[in-house]
């Protein structure tokens, strides 16, 4: 690795020193310890007039032990020195002097020191373990929360970015990044308050190192090949993300020190999340493909019927026309039938083509200034033959020019009109109202048919969906409304259907558009 890389150990050591600074807590314990010893001295000299030094020594030892067990070593040491001095001065003959007559009493003094040393050391170690355990528990809790979050990830890049943000937040990191190799480039998902730029070359080097295989790092007790790099004075740790043993990217973290083991676990969770996100993406693609297949099946089923009937009629009518004995009016009627059925087939193909264009997203809009009344007239013209059994009522108010795609809009209205003609009984009235509002062009088509069954309302614009009750009565293909919606969507417009207050169905189309002021 380059010169800026060094081992993690230094970072870890400097962090643990932080915890060894004296605190008010320690001073309080010291006061308690020394105070305890002094109180014992007071009690023994004033009231008990203890002559037996062993009793006093045992009492002091007890106090030193308690202090050592609950405090740091230096607190215990100071306490034991205080105990030794007081024992010497007040209880060891010659009392009232610092002189030690009997060499045996030195033993007592050293016993205090030894006890405080051993006890505080043991206690210190236990405390350290407890602290470590607590830290581990916290990290495990964070990891657990994180993995729960990973299970809820959705597909795509957003999920990885939000995962990076969530890790930075949960682990309280100044900077955290998930970097994934994309050919020669690195895709980065960065999070945290600190803004630094990772060097691409160093990322590639670290990644190449991770690909070299697993090596055991004895000091960090990890196999995963952690690296550090210094960026803008910050020591950034790089941890390979692996699926199995195969590295798929790198994770970079700086700020609060995190145990190497925790970083490994974190890397494993992140790797799983990335893998999951990409699997979900694949599944989504498969789902889209499956829906495409479903659509084709539905299309074939629908076309089956809609093609066969006109084809049969055309074949039979054409053969009828070949019959020389056919009466002239019957001949006319048969050729009429052929024309109508051919038109029906033509419309079907138009619909299929239009639907394919909508699916392929190749519906081009061509905005022009046009009068709403023209659009409605054009729409009626497209389905004139289908509307001949119905009374059409048109009201356009105001007929202000709007800038829309007249062709797409008229075609959408025509599909809605065709739908109305299919479902409403013959000789009933179909009302078309068009107006220009702040939203754009609003057209509504209302029929006096049976209306829409509530169960059908949410599915009206689904392709090949045909109303459950009306299914048998009409010759629709289930494509019209879906095409109308597609044509409107191409112009950012919308359409919805509802049951009109006085009965019958009402469809409203809105095409966003700018309008010319009436005055201009």
């Amino acid at each position: 690795m380059g010169g800026t890389c060094r081992s993690d150990a230094e970072v870890a050591v400097s962090s643990s020193k932080l915890n060894r600074m004296p605190k008010w807590d320690d001073l309080a314990r010291l006061a308690a310890g020394v105070g305890g010893v002094s109180a014992a001295t007071l009690v023994y000299t004033r009231w008990l007039a203890a002559s037996n030094a062993t009793t006093v020594a045992l009492t002091f030892l007890l106090i030193v032990l308690v202090v050592a067990a609950t405090s740091r070593f230096w607190v215990a040491a100071v306490t034991s020195v205080a105990a030794m001095l007081q024992f010497n001065y007040f209880f060891l003959p010659p009392v009232g002097t610092w002189t030690i007559a009997d060499p045996q009493n030195w033993v007592a003094l050293f016993a205090f020191l030894a006890v405080s040393l051993v006890a505080s050391n043991l206690a210190d170690r236990a405390r350290e373990q407890a602290r470590e355990a607590r830290a581990r528990r916290d990290e495990v809790a964070r990891l657990f929360d994180l993995s729960r979050e990973v299970l809820l990830t959705t597909e795509g890049r957003d999920a990885i970015a939000s995962l990076a943000r969530s890790i930075a937040r949960r682990f309280d990191l100044a900077y955290f990044a998930i970097t994934l190799p994309r050919g020669m480039e690195w895709e980065r998902f960065e999070a945290g308050p600190l803004a630094i730029t990772l060097d691409t070359n160093q990322l590639s080097l670290a990644f190449a190192g991770a690909q070299g295989g697993l090596e055991f790092d004895a000091r960090e007790r990890t196999y995963s090949g952690h690296r550090t790099m210094t960026v803008a004075g910050q020591v950034v740790r790089l941890v390979p993300l692996r699926v199995g043993t195969k590295p798929i990217g790198l994770m970079a973290a700086t700020g609060r020190p995190v145990e190497p083991g925790t970083l490994d676990a974190l890397a494993a969770v992140v790797a799983i999340a990335i893998e999951r996100a990409s699997l979900l993406e694949d599944r989504k693609a498969a789902e889209v493909a499956r829906r495409g297949e479903e659509l084709k099946t539905a299309l074939l089923a629908s076309l089956g019927h809609d093609l066969r009937t006109p084809l049969t009629a055309i074949r039979v009518a054409a053969s009828n026309l070949q019959n020389a004995g056919l009466a002239p009016e019957l001949q006319r009627e048969q050729s009429e039938l052929i024309l109508e059925e051919a038109e029906r087939l033509g419309r079907l193909f138009e619909n299929i083509l239009e639907m394919a264009r909508i699916d392929a997203g190749t519906v081009a809009t061509d905005l022009r200034w046009t009068h709403p009344s023209e659009v409605v007239t054009a729409a009626r013209g497209q389905v004139e033959r289908l509307l001949r059994d119905h009374l059409i009522e048109v009201a356009v108010e105001p007929d202000t020019p709007v800038r829309i795609d007249p062709r797409l809009t008229a075609s959408a209205i025509a599909h809605v009109l065709e739908n109305a003609a299919q479902y409403a009984p013959a000789r009933s009235t179909i009302s078309v109202t068009a107006s220009v509002t702040g939203e754009g062009l609003v057209v509504s088509v209302r029929d006096r048919g049976p209306g829409v069954a509530p169960a059908d309302l949410p599915r009206l614009f689904e392709r090949f969906y045909r109303g459950s009750t009306a299914q048998a009565h009409t010759s629709g293909t289930g494509m019209g409304l879906s095409i109308a919606r597609g044509l409107l969507a191409a112009q950012h417009g919308r359409i919805w259907g509802e049951n009109a207050a006085g009965g019958g169905a009402q469809f409203t189309l809105v095409v966003p558009a700018e309008a010319k002021e009436l005055a201009s």
């Binding site: 019927h305 009937t309 049969t312 009629a313 039979v316 009518a317 009828n320 059925e341």
Partner: protein
């Protein structure tokens, strides 16, 4: 045939009605049209037709249901109009007693040929005392269980004779695999068509002039078999 045959056309599609009615009329049939299953049942009860052309896709009743109800009290020939994606409905209708089917889109000749055969069968059934069937150079004597082709007797096993006589008694009708299996092998055999395939192959070797191009025992692929009294028109 005496007089004009009366045809009941049951189809809800206006285009089909408008093209078929002139077709049938110009071929000398009397046509009545029904657009729904209920109307069809009523018309068949009020003025029994000689033949019914029945579309399976009706707005009110399922076509197979119409077929079943018609068969409750009538033996009138029924020709089904069906689509290729309604294969199972077609087979059900045949099981329920329909005689034949035409698949949409069909040509006029196809339908007319099926109608002629069905009408002829009815006429033949009512005309003869039914102890004997004569078709081409084949003679089947039901009472004496004898089959003669071109003057020489053909020896058939009892099962072969049972199958042949079943098809011959229903000549010019399509019998579904299921119906044949049930009649010849019993209700437990309906899902074992391999019995039938094997027996048909044996029978064809014995009675057909050319077993590879059958003239009497015709297959209706995926549906069943029919015994044709007149050679198939290709």
């Amino acid at each position: 045939m005496s007089g004009t045959a009366r045809i009941l056309l049951v189809d809800d599609e206006a285009a089909i009605q408008r093209s078929l009615v002139p077709l049938l009329q110009t071929h000398g049939y009397d046509v009545e049209v029904a657009g729904t299953g209920q109307a069809a049942l009523k018309a068949a009860a009020d003025r029994p037709p000689d033949l019914i052309v029945l579309d399976l896709g009706l707005p009110d009743l399922d076509g197979t249901e119409v077929c079943r109800r018609l068969r409750e009290d009538s033996k009138v020939p029924i020709i089904i109009l069906s689509a290729r994606d309604r294969e199972t409905d077609k087979v059900r209708a045949l099981d329920l007693g329909a005689d034949d089917f035409v698949t949409k889109p069909f040509g006029p000749e196809e339908l007319l040929a099926r109608m002629r055969v069905a009408l002829r069968r009815v006429a033949a059934d009512s005309g003869e005392a039914s102890g004997l069937l004569q078709a081409g150079d084949l003679t089947i004597d039901y009472d004496r269980r004898r089959v003669v082709r071109g003057g020489s007797e053909i020896r058939l096993t009892p099962k072969e004779f049972e199958l042949l006589s079943l098809l011959a008694k229903n000549h010019d009708r399509v019998l579904t695999h299921r119906a044949i299996l049930k009649a010849v092998w019993g209700p437990n055999a309906v899902n074992q068509p391999e019995h039938l395939w094997a027996l048909v192959a044996q029978l064809r070797k014995k009675i057909e002039p050319d077993p590879t191009a059958p003239r009497y025992l015709l297959s209706e692929p995926w549906v069943g078999y029919r015994f044709a009294t007149s050679p198939p028109t290709s």
